[in-house]
């Protein structure tokens, strides 16, 4: 069992990881890279099935146990079932034909439920940001004051009203984005990239095993 649970997954991760690195640097292996990218896409598609199973399992358990908020879970499961049925029906063409999104039930659900619901969620941000900014954006220290002034300049400079107030505001906003922001972002990006390389190497060489379900040492 240890071989199947530990040794084999570690070996697969090591081989896959090393091949991923080598194919990037050895151009003659491009055909293998193409093939492995196709395999990755197939695995990705199966991961979606796993995600669907996980989602339905979680919500079904919540409904069965009458846990708090079970009604929301029922809506989720119901919405999933209805959408799936319309996708399979596909305006009478069946599940294996090209999916019709322009008309039919699936198109209607997409245009009249998913699009407005998604846009509504996003537009609610304006209210939450206003409330959060009022409560938390205080010049409690010199650093916070600098951040506050920079934020106000960028907020005004990024919309046309800024240019109407002063022609220098958009330029100042652009400078803030181009210089201090870019320096900070670049530092973060380099740090994240180095961290990703280190984590990848740890996984490839079997040092990092938390993905196997083992506790970190």
């Amino acid at each position: 069992m240890t071989f199947l649970q530990r040794t084999l997954p570690l070996a697969i991760a090591m081989v896959a990881g090393l091949l991923g690195i080598l194919t990037f640097y050895i151009p003659v292996w491009e055909e293998f890279e193409t093939r492995s990218a196709i395999w990755f896409r197939i695995v990705f598609a199966f991961a979606m099935i796993l995600g669907i199973h996980s989602l339905l399992h979680m919500h079904w358990t919540r409904i069965r146990r009458n846990q708090a908020g079970w009604a929301y879970s029922a809506v989720t499961v119901g919405a999933f079932a209805v959408t799936l049925l319309f996708a399979i029906y596909n305006s009478g063409a069946g599940p294996f034909a090209v999916q019709n999104l322009e008309s039919g039930g699936l198109g209607w659900i997409y245009d009249h439920i998913q699009v407005p619901a998604g846009a509504t969620m996003f537009s609610l941000l304006a209210f939450f940001i206003a409330s959060a900014a009022f409560r938390t954006f205080r010049a409690r220290s010199p650093e916070a004051a600098i951040l506050l002034v920079a934020a106000i300049c960028v907020m005004l400079g990024r919309v046309p009203i800024g240019a109407a107030i002063s022609p220098y505001l958009p330029e100042l906003s652009q400078w803030l984005m181009d210089t201090p922001n870019m320096a900070a972002r670049r530092g973060i990006l380099i740090g994240v990239s180095l961290g990703a390389i280190a984590t990848a190497l740890r996984i490839i060489f079997g040092i990092e095993r938390s993905w196997l379900g083992e506790d970190r040492r």
Partner: protein, 271 residues
Amino acid sequence: MINRLQTLDRRVIYAVIFVGVALALLIDFKFPISATPNVRAVYQGVETLDKGQTILISFDFGPSTVTELGPMARAILHHCFSKELRVIAVTLLPEGQGITQSILEEVATEYDAKYGEDFVFLGYKAGNEAVILNMGQDLRRAFDKDVRGNSLATMAATRSITSLRDIPYIIDLTSGYPGVEEWIQFGQERYGFKLAAGVTAVMAPDAFPFLQSGQLEGLLGGLAGAAEYEHLIGREGQAVSGMRPQSVGHVIIIGFILFGNLAYFLGRSRT
């Protein structure tokens, strides 16, 4: 009193935002719009393409960000179709398919652009960055058919395109992952095409390092970027009119920040 000001009921804030934005939507007024260098660079990139050349637009956004990225997509498509460029559209997000299809056909109809000749929609394929990699190696292995089931080898718009190497200009309109970084890492760096991006306003600061490094030719950030693009193509629409509520919203939020700070300092001086 000062304490009450500092802990102002959030419903008051919501009400002020609602009224301000609603009034800005209802009352017609205009702000002067001028294009920033990053938006101008995207415009120039499209402008330098000749009639009949191909441009690929990746619609990597879903319904939640369509209010920001939808007007951007429309403005770019208007520019492309008015220049009689061939447009290949693709999406790396499953929820992006419906939006792409409706925006593409809405704009194409205005220019009498013919499907298969002037534009093609490849649809969605699972795999995120792996799809970009496959498109770079062999477009027809990544997408053998378009969203309508037509073979890529038979359509005029895609007949001569075998890889991303054959496409001179690509624009990625993205709301997150997969997005700009994936298109740079697995596409632009390896296959050498020119890349520009349109992103949501909150994502724009993340993309700035790629502008300076030259990996991105230009950048449209949020609805403001879309409005600047509309201004450049001389077709002011959804994004430009969206600048009214956005400007008012920003001013109200700044007003609340200043008001909160005033109450904070007054409270501190008293204690």
